[in-house]
């Protein structure tokens, strides 16, 4: 069984890999119970919820800076994952690229493997138009 495909951390990311509880209704990734968004009614992963609502949590100024967010003591009393992932999403939009040594959801392939596939494909291949494309023709 594959582990949860979400990533924890802020400045540097790590794979979660906890047992999968369900699939995210938006991105389809396998998600553990901790990475399901309570605010979405546990139908989305925290990343997808953050992408849909993160901007409400963390505004990015026109100059790209991220203003401080006023959080009350009461807010901090209960750790709020939805808020935290929304804040992270907004922070990354300011231009910060987190450090990450894993691959999308694989412990076998790493970023060194995947980056040579960053080029747009389809030019000289049977891999065009979004196909996996191993032709038998």
């Amino acid at each position: 069984m594959m582990g949860c495909e979400c990533r924890g951390g802020f400045f540097a990311l790590r794979d979660c890999d906890q047992p999968v509880a369900t699939s995210c209704g938006t991105c389809g990734r396998g998600v553990c119970s901790r990475h399901l968004s309570p605010a979405s009614g546990f139908t989305q992963c925290l990343d997808c919820w953050a992408q849909g609502h993160g901007d409400e949590q963390q505004k990015v100024a026109d100059d790209g800076s991220v203003p401080a967010v006023d959080r009350s003591v009461a807010d901090d009393a209960a750790y709020d994952d939805d808020w935290a992932y929304g804040y992270r999403h907004g922070f990354y939009r300011s231009g910060y690229a987190p450090i990450y040594f894993g691959s999308h959801s694989s412990r076998y392939y790493d970023t060194y493997d995947t980056r040579s596939f960053d080029d747009d494909y389809g030019d000289e291949s049977g891999f065009s138009e979004g196909d996996g494309g191993f032709g038998d023709s």
Binding site: S23, S103, S116, Y121, S125, D131, G133, F134, S137
Partner: protein
């Protein structure tokens, strides 16, 4: 846990968009229903796009499409495999047989503790083909992909391949010959077709994909040597208007062939058939490259041309010789030589009698051994043999000198 609409008895997985007008799609459309018929139902897991439904239920077959758009090829393949793992978890209780086409689908289906038979259909190996698409892919990455391929080849119960050339390549990789079944691609005989209304008076045809290994540039250069045949046109029916196709259109323009080449794209099978059946010749100018010569291939375009009674002029390569005998169903020429290709086309165009004889021989060749019925009968016989194996799957190991760990170095 992924929830399925029904408990599948079988599973056919392919990292290919389905359906499309490509050869891979034709293959899936034939093989997957044969699996589902044999097992009494099943699940088809393929790639899709936003224009296709993510879930479909058609009687006893559920279709699940992986539709997430991930620009990076490898990342997408990994995510595809991850989603398949969850499907396999959900299907574990009912699954009796699984059939997969690539190393992206294979690992979740060849797990050691499975209770189903696993068939690996090898049309091509990404460790060989990917450098054509991604020239900068690192040897270390290719070695990792090769290791997964070897793992799937070792852990599966049977290997199916459409070409003896590919079977030989797999044996060289260490696969036990007894595990390999060669099932050639098929085609159904094509009855005579009405001439397309916009068809040129006289034309030769190329149809299929446009990757460099197909050698369409050689065909264009050959056709540039036939411009003295005023009425002759080249019709190119591409499976997709890819950048490869635009590159070839540009080449045709540079060769002064703009008004002599007719380009068509993504024709449905029923639209392509009249173009094929009324062509003077069909051309398969495959390049002499590792992909075609060492790995092997099974060009559906050649089999489909023969089924339509259209003589073929093709490159003289081992996988082509499995289908066409030089001088019987068509002509085989030295690959990558435009002059030789042009000469063979010219000679056949000047000999209607010869073409007629080849047309009859071509149809006979397909009817005797290359129909889809032949292919599916062989596939079903393989499934039946696997049914008789014990549920606890045993591995037929690779030859001892082949080291999967070594490939990971």
């Amino acid at each position: 846990m992924t929830t399925l609409l029904r408990s599948p008895e079988s599973l056919y997985a392919a990292y290919d968009r389905f359906p499309t007008q490509k050869g891979a799609s034709t293959h899936i459309a034939r093989f997957a229903p044969a699996l589902f018929r044999h097992a009494g139902g099943g699940l088809l897991y393929v790639l899709g796009d936003s224009s296709m439904p993510q879930r479909q239920l058609e009687e006893n077959v559920e279709i699940v499409r992986f539709r997430r758009e991930i620009p990076n090829f490898l990342e997408r393949a990994i995510a595809f495999q991850s989603a398949l793992s969850r499907i396999v978890d959900a299907a574990r209780g009912s699954l009796r047989i699984a059939h997969f086409r690539d190393p992206w689908s294979g690992p979740p289906l060849v797990t050691a503790n499975r209770s189903w038979a696993a068939v690996y259909e090898v049309n091509a190996l990404p460790s060989i083909e990917l450098p054509n698409a991604f020239p900068s892919v690192a040897p270390r990455t290719l070695a990792k992909i090769r290791a997964v391929e070897l793992h799937c080849l070792e852990a599966c119960d049977a290997v199916v391949t459409p070409s003896r050339t590919t079977a030989s390549m797999l044996e060289r990789l260490g696969v036990n010959r007894a595990k390999i079944t060669v099932i050639p691609n098929g085609a159904d005989p094509v009855p005579s077709q009405p001439r397309p209304v916009d068809a040129p008076e006289r034309y030769i045809l190329y149809f299929g994909a446009m990757q460099r290994w197909q050698g369409v540039d050689t065909l264009l250069r050959a056709f540039a040597r036939l411009t003295d045949l005023d009425e002759l046109r080249l019709v190119v029916c591409g499976s997709a208007r890819s950048r490869d196709a635009r590159r070839l259109e540009s080449l045709a323009s540079k060769l002064g062939l703009s008004d002599r080449v007719v380009w068509q794209y993504e024709l449905h099978d029923r639209e392509l058939r009249p173009w094929l059946a009324n062509a003077e010749l069909s051309v398969a100018p495959l390049r002499e490259c590792a992909r075609n010569v060492e790995q092997g291939c099974a060009p559906l375009k050649i089999v489909e041309s023969l089924a339509a009674g259209v003589p073929v002029v093709a490159s003289n390569l081992p996988p082509v010789r499995e289908i066409v005998t030089d001088g019987i169903e068509g002509r085989l020429v030295v690959p990558d030589r435009p002059a030789d290709l042009a000469r063979a086309i010219r000679v056949l165009l000047h000999s209607p009698q010869r073409r007629e004889e080849m047309s009859i021989a071509a149809r006979r060749r397909v009817e005797e051994s290359l129909t889809w019925d032949h292919a599916l009968a062989a596939l079903t016989a393989l499934y039946e043999r696997l049914d008789s194996l014990p549920h606890q799957r045993g591995r037929i190991a690779l030859r001892p000198e082949i080291s999967i760990e070594g490939a990971r170095a």
